[in-house]
């Protein structure tokens, strides 16, 4: 059978299925992946925050720096920050019509989420690392 495919796309391009943007379904997939991770992580987060409510400094430090709590918080921050970056990008792409402003907004979104992520990760590590409860 003769090849009737007159598409400009190469067979390799079709097999990879990454499309024009070169990312394929990555955005959609990571949005779901982080959403699945968020459910248990945020249930744990709510319990941790409830325990932290009204704590004095020593108690708050002891809770956050506990290895299990710190690991859960770090995982939650990483998952949430990626999830909200992807979600906000979709909102920006849907509603900001001007090309220039859209790029500015997407860049600002990346910067804001990076700052939040770095601040949370640094703070958790700073109060946790080197603190061994004797």
């Amino acid at each position: 059978m003769a090849d009737k495919n007159v598409s400009m796309r190469t067979p390799l391009s079709r097999v990879k299925g990454l499309g024009a943007a070169g990312h394929g379904v990555e955005h959609w997939w990571v949005q779901r992946l982080t959403a699945v991770a968020n459910v248990p992580l945020l249930i744990a987060f709510v319990i941790i925050v409830a325990a932290l409510a009204g704590s004095n400094y020593a108690r708050a430090l002891a809770i956050v720096s506990h290895p299990l709590i710190a690991i859960i918080l770090l995982l939650a921050v990483i998952s949430v920050v990626n999830h909200m970056r992807l979600g906000m990008q979709v909102i920006i792409e849907d509603y900001v019509q001007d090309n220039g402003w859209r790029i500015v907004a997407v860049v600002a979104n990346n910067f804001y989420t990076a700052v939040i992520g770095a601040a949370c990760v640094f703070a958790i590590l700073k109060v946790s690392l080197g603190r061994i409860l004797l």
Binding site: V36, N38, A50, A53, A60, I91, I116, C120, F122, A123
Partner: protein
């Protein structure tokens, strides 16, 4: 040289024209709650950085979260978080190919709102009782 013609493009119906439905309201709400969480997480970042900065800064931030305004923000944040989480679970059900029928769609949309309020109240009752 002929100038490029700009013919008026047809305008699709928008928010003011559609009749509000449960599914539409919860869809809009899912994005609104996501946006609120997006900015609200900055409060958690501030709390964590204050913890890392030392007792003086921490006490000031902790005082704010314990104030009536701080508690109101935390209560609102809890509800928004629960609503977005249940909305996300609704999306998982759709992603798996279930819950597309009319009654199921409306039922799940109502459930999102009712369950988010119930969960929020339960969390705060538990938090105040045990912590």
């Amino acid at each position: 040289m002929s100038e490029a013609k700009s013919t008026p493009r047809p305008l699709s119906p928008h928010l003011q024209i559609y009749r509000w439905t449960w599914t539409m309201a919860m869809s809009v709400f899912h994005r609104a709650t996501g946006t609120a969480l997006y900015f609200g997480i900055a409060l958690f970042a501030i709390w964590l950085v204050a913890l890392a900065a030392g007792p003086r800064v921490f006490n000031a931030v902790q005082w704010f979260f314990g104030s009536p305004l701080g508690l109101l923000i935390l209560f609102g944040y809890t509800w928004v978080l629960m609503h977005h989480m249940l909305g996300g679970i609704r999306h998982f059900i759709w992603d798996l190919g279930y819950g597309m029928e009319r009654e199921q769609r409306i039922g799940m949309a109502r459930f999102t709102l009712i369950a988010s309020v119930a969960l929020t109240l339960a969390i705060w009752v538990v938090a105040f009782t045990f912590f």
